[in-house]
Subunit: 784 residues, 2 copies
């Protein structure tokens, strides 16, 4: 049981549970893709892990190698906890409000998915018996990307009480580093050097610069105070702290109300005065809109989002809540990224050092493409903005075109272990795949000309130079790492080869669409015929003896993992077994061949899919949060609908239940996105091979109705699925044509209802010993 | 041209060449396997790289990882430059003798392979015009392993001259570290902490302890002085310095003679007083033997060695010298190791951090086995003494038996990059191979019972647990790295599989010979049948299309390296290309499949050998010094005798010509040993498959006669080869039976002369563009 109260449109936590703060802070994080704030208590302490993030703002540190190698990245990047503007401390007649002391008669925090506001309500009795009601609301604006705002209200409940509120901008908050590397810990101990501070009236600005990466940021605050006349305020500032102190005697039942407006900005280039001006201008905009105005804008933004994106689940309230939370956080991660990356944890925590991975393109962008396409476009524009770094990287590696980094904040490779980093070249095909998907789903011709064609061409060039034609068996791509991180540096990884094949074909198509762009990029007929030939002759290994595809060459000849004798605390395996042992055995961390079955389903027969799925199902341990969603999709396609449901639930609840034990460091965006995939591509059977939208919906026994929304080429539609039928609704826009279980359907003004054929009847696959779906194993006895 | 004067029994350098000191110091290094001293000038400066080493004495430092992994070694070990006792400084009337100042009228250093003494003779004129003749002799005793001695003689040539000699023990000499890792550099900056110092009369002792590894060492010195009456001496000591100062006025033509005796000891357990006592006792022994006695013992030891080991070459004086130097240094590396490792650089420099690798067992021990078998036995006893660490390592890796480290000083794995370290499991089979070879060559039953059987059993257990039976193709060993470091973590490396097969069979044979030992080790019939079955069904991949063995699974399907477009300064490739690119292409750093053709020649037909050799010859770049010797062996067997000669010369001259540009850090023991292999196994065609000694000698056109000696089961023999005949001489011991080109021969008191059949006629193989043998490319124009 997650501890959260189950409601369809809100996430709510009703107790204090100091030892669970790290979890709730991540789940209650607010962000807009540019600015993120963990859901910490207003008073700053107790805290699980403090965190305020500006997308793209990082500190640099050297990467140490006991044995160095040519082309190893020398500098690492780590997201910085920037100036914390959300702190509002309260003194109640000399007693600081601290949830560890005194008594909380009531205390709850609520994140509302429709208003986009995090509410906190605490009725607190101080150790000396003073009772106050504290109500706070916090938002990070979707409409004004530099802005956050807090309404902080305190009401004495019994006597006139002296209240002192301290509203801070605090830089270089102490953080307990968990890094094993002393250099990283040092780099992050106090990363910000003060450059400028100023305060006057209710307003203050701090400007800082990172010590190594040399990035500059400004944080500014302004306030509105609503209280009686006896108010006394004082503002002060120094390098790492600006503080507005508000003191007042408030009568019982009266309320001291403070509205705090926050604005942030950062730049690698702009001066301290320019950044200060930028933050103050954003602040002026926020004050002009006002608190009520910001609330209204926030809700309007989300109304539109839910119209495009909502998922309804009948029969499983906890799953309903989890799916809306997932969509809400994906929107928060991508909405206003505007040519910055979408990190693996969004802006909800410092996990993965704040790096972006292939997670974004393969898992998050499909969701955004079909629900908030402009955000998908912006994320791809970030990749495009890093093309120069990717070309440089390809050159260092002796390759042509662009080799995108395995992990990065600014576009430069930060992966210090190349077999599970640089070798995972598939990230470049994943970017091409996301680019092609966005183009097909939107028909965005400007993007095609200005960004997409170049992305597709440069990644196609990478594949042409990575592979080679061999007399034995066609076009091979050797020595690379596929999605499964328990196997590395292998030949002809099926996922990689098929995604590269698609990449090459998409590049050819893009050059046909945009011959001028192709010419400007120097694409010749000879080069195009190289691509066509490589795609045509792409080698896909197959094990005739077992009748399945090996995930990569020879995989099915490797020793089986001894699951029976692997103890439960032996997972995740990578913390308890050496890489060499994982790599050489048939144990799969996360969907790899099965992901190919989904994304390149057009390259497999239904019989192959059924056999392959069953084979890998028995060898996949899901030590990665990226896996369950994809397994749900393919389980559904292969007719294992109850299993699909179990994996859907696992993906959706990964963070709420903290299945990986690391939600403290932020939410797993790809897992949240995987939950959406499990619904839409899994239960909905949505596919987009070749840019064509098709459906093949089916429900598991445990759910009575599922409805999901998406947009395609400007049309918003809703698909409603029951056990017997699916109904296709046009929400807005022009009618579109699709298919339902292979039958053509025109979705127009009148809903179309179609019957659902019986599921394919394949034998139930088995998971490795002890690795059944997490929700499945407990579903029967679970109440929430 | 190497710069050394070519003489058959001496290595001589006749100029000062300060910029060449790093080279000459390595070549002139003296050692006995326990104590090593680089050939630095007596006065300490100028110096290439100071170095005094005690085998097994190291400092520890943490190994940093930007991304850590389970089972990664946490501590590194690095050989320590211990207290320097060879320093003798000279003041000539106020002017310090320094070869960078004044004028050297003559200056030469000579290492004599028969006396084992390094001589230096310098006629020096001080900047103010005083002329002196300095003659020094230095030895590190083969017979008294803790002892070194120096005879230092100064003769004023024109006037009575005041001479001051300072004889030092100096700890923590400043060294310029070349490590990229600041932690390693720091650990080695001043590794020794003074624990005790004492001096009296002409004698002094310093005791130190390493700061991290906690090893303790003592260095002691004593002196005899032969001079006129006006002598004044003073002895002093402090933590890091003990100094005897000798001042005297010496008449022209008279000689001040100082004999310095040095003794060293170290221990991980013994106390400072105990170590002091140990060093002083060794000193007492040395003084009792006296300088002349030490000289006599040294020469007697070497007389015996050369009787057993000498190689004669007619037609190539530089090669003759290089081969004797090689044998001399191998004797120095192994003679008195006594259960310590033989490091990759011997005790000639700090290269490879002082670690021992598989080089020892595969390259150095065959030489010692057939020339100084007790030293081979002692080196294998070192491996046996580390069995516990190897068992622990196997357990960490989830394997049975013993997994010996890739690189180590004390037996614990120090390799920080597992694909080229831990994954190179073949080191354990190499140890088994060396063990079996020693047993067959000596019939040492005590060693068999007490050490060998356990080594063979525990390594066999490793292979049984590393491999698995697969329905596709028998017993596979997946995910390991073979000898070629430009390919890593592969399946069914042919070398590894065949050496493992031999390992399993040798273990079975050992258990048959020593059933009691086998029982004590818990070997059951079931286990033996597992070994037998694995050996029987060991998979050896073969490429039917190309008709060659792939070095490992799929190797021959990989892309070819573009040698034509690889510039000369692109070598060594690992410094200029990323691992990922090297690993995925057909480029070979060093003999791998070709080493299998040599060591497991019994597993290949002559036709296979010829085709395989040609195939790999075209893809092997020899970026490793381990390669040329093996290529010489197989070139000879395949009938390419001129090529064998070229590779023999390359192996022999690797260090004299500084082919790898790193001789500063010490001599490459394996390359020196490879030169011996090139003569004996190459031109001599010596093989020892199944413990049977056989010969198949043939000469290249450029040599008129080659003679080599070796011992087998207590018999010393000499094989003399001309173009037409080979003559087998019994040097001492019982007659033995062998074969000559397949014909049985009994070598008894009368020499047997047999004709040499024509060489097989295979097409001349090609090397990669620009990677022809180094000597071959220049042979025509070379004078030395």
């Amino acid at each position: 049981m997650s501890g959260f109260v189950v409601e369809p449109w809100r996430l709510r936590w009703e107790t204090i549970d100091v030892d669970q703060l790290h979890r709730t802070e991540s789940a209650f994080a607010l962000a807009n893709g540019h600015l993120g704030m963990r859901g910490s208590l207003d008073e700053g302490e107790p805290v699980g892990l403090p965190g305020t993030y500006l997308n793209g703002f990082y500190e640099e540190h050297s990467l140490p190698y006991a044995e160095a190698g040519y082309g190893y990245p020398e500098a690492g990047q780590t997201v910085v906890n920037v100036t914390d503007g959300k702190i509002m401390r309260l003194l109640v007649e000399d007693e600081p409000l601290d949830m560890r002391y005194g008594k909380a008669h009531t205390h709850h925090r609520t994140l509302d998915f429709r208003t986009g506001v995090l509410t906190r309500e605490t009725e607190w009795e101080s150790p000396t018996g003073r009772r106050v009601l504290v109500k706070t609301r916090r938002l990070v604006s979707f409409t004004q990307r530099a802005v956050a705002a807090i309404r902080y209200e305190v009401t004495p409940l019994e006597d006139t009480t002296q209240l002192v509120v301290q509203s801070d901008l605090l830089a270089n908050e102490p953080i307990v580093s968990e890094s094993r590397d002393p250099r990283v810990a040092l780099a992050l101990k106090s990363p910000l050097a003060g450059e400028f501070h100023w305060s006057e009236g209710y307003r203050a600005v701090l400007v800082h610069r990172t010590k190594e990466s040399g990035l500059r940021m400004a944080a500014a605050m302004d306030h509105e105070i609503d209280a009686n006349d006896g108010l006394r305020t004082e503002i002060s500032c120094e390098d790492d702290l600006a503080r507005l102190t508000i003191a007042a005697d408030i009568a019982a039942g009266e309320t001291l109300s403070v509205t705090k407006y926050l604005a942030y900005g950062w730049s690698a280039q702009r001066s301290a005065p320019a950044l200060r001006a930028q933050a103050e201008a954003a602040l002026a905009g926020a004050r002009q809109t006002g608190w009520e105005g910001l609330l209204a804008e926030q809700e309007a933004f989300l109304d539109d989002f839910w119209e495009a994106a909502d998922v309804e689940i009948d029969g499983d309230p906890a799953l309903q809540q989890a799916l809306r939370l997932a969509l809400f956080h994906i929107a928060q991660a991508g909405a206003r990224g505007e040519s910055r990356a979408i990190p693996g944890k969004g802006l909800t925590g410092p996990g993965y050092d704040g790096h972006a991975f292939w997670d974004t393109e393969t898992f998050v962008l499909p969701v955004l493409t079909y629900t908030m396409p402009d955000a998908a476009r912006d994320a791809l524009r970030w990749r495009h903005s890093t093309l120069e770094a990717a070309r440089d990287r390809a050159e260092v590696l002796g390759k042509s075109g662009a080799a995108f980094p395995w992990r990065s904040i600014n576009g430069a490779e930060c992966s210090a272990y190349w077999p599970a980093g640089t070798a995972a070249f598939h990230v470049s095909a994943d970017i091409a795949d996301a680019t092609a998907r966005y183009l097909a789903a939107t028909g965005d011709e400007d993007f095609d000309r200005e960004y997409a064609t170049e992305l597709l061409v440069e990644t196609a060039r990478l594949w042409a130079s990575l592979g080679h034609h061999d007399p034995h068996d066609g076009f091979r791509i050797d020595g690379v790492t596929g999605p499964d991180e328990y196997t590395a540096v292998v030949d002809n990884n099926v996922y990689t080869n098929l995604m590269a094949q698609k990449n090459l074909r998409e590049a050819l198509a893009a050059c046909e669409r945009n011959p001028g762009v192709a010419e400007a990029l120097g694409v010749t007929d000879a080069e195009k015929s190289v691509w066509a030939d490589a795609a045509e002759r792409m080698h896909v290994p197959y094990d005739e003896l077992l009748g399945v595809h090996p995930q990569a060459e020879a995989f099915t000849q490797h020793e089986e993992w001894d699951f029976e004798n692997t103890p439960e605390d032996g997972y995740p395996l990578l913390l308890n077994y050496p890489y060499f042992e994982l790599y050489r055995k048939q144990v799969v961390k996360q969907a790899d061949l099965v992901l190919a079955l989904h994304l390149r389903g057009d390259a497999f027969t239904p019989e192959e899919k059924a056999r392959d799925f069953a084979y890998y199902e028995a060898r996949t341990v899901r030590d990665s949060s990226l896996s369950a969603g994809t397994q749900a999709v393919m389980a559904a396609e292969c007719g294992h609908l109850d299993l699909a449901y179990d994996y859907l639930a696992e993906a959706a609840l990964t963070d709420l239940d903290d299945l990986h034990g690391n939600v403290k460091n932020g939410l797993h965006m790809a897992s949240l996105a995987g939950a959406w995939q499990a619904v839409v591509a899994g239960l909905g059977g949505m596919r987009d091979h070749g840019g064509e939208l098709t459906f093949a919906p089916r429900l598991p026994r445990g759910l009575s109705r599922v409805s999901f929304r998406m947009s395609f080429r400007g049309t918003r539609l809703r698909v409603e699925v029951t056990h017997d039928n699916a109904t296709y609704h046009l929400v807005s826009g022009d009618p579109i044509t699709t298919t339902h279980h292979g039958e053509p359907v025109e979705i127009g003004p009148s809903p179309v209802t179609l019957g659902i054929p019986p599921a394919p009847d394949n034998p139930t696959p088995q998971q490795p010993h002890g690795r059944e779906p997490r929700r499945g194993a407990r579903r029967a006895g679970e109440s929430s």
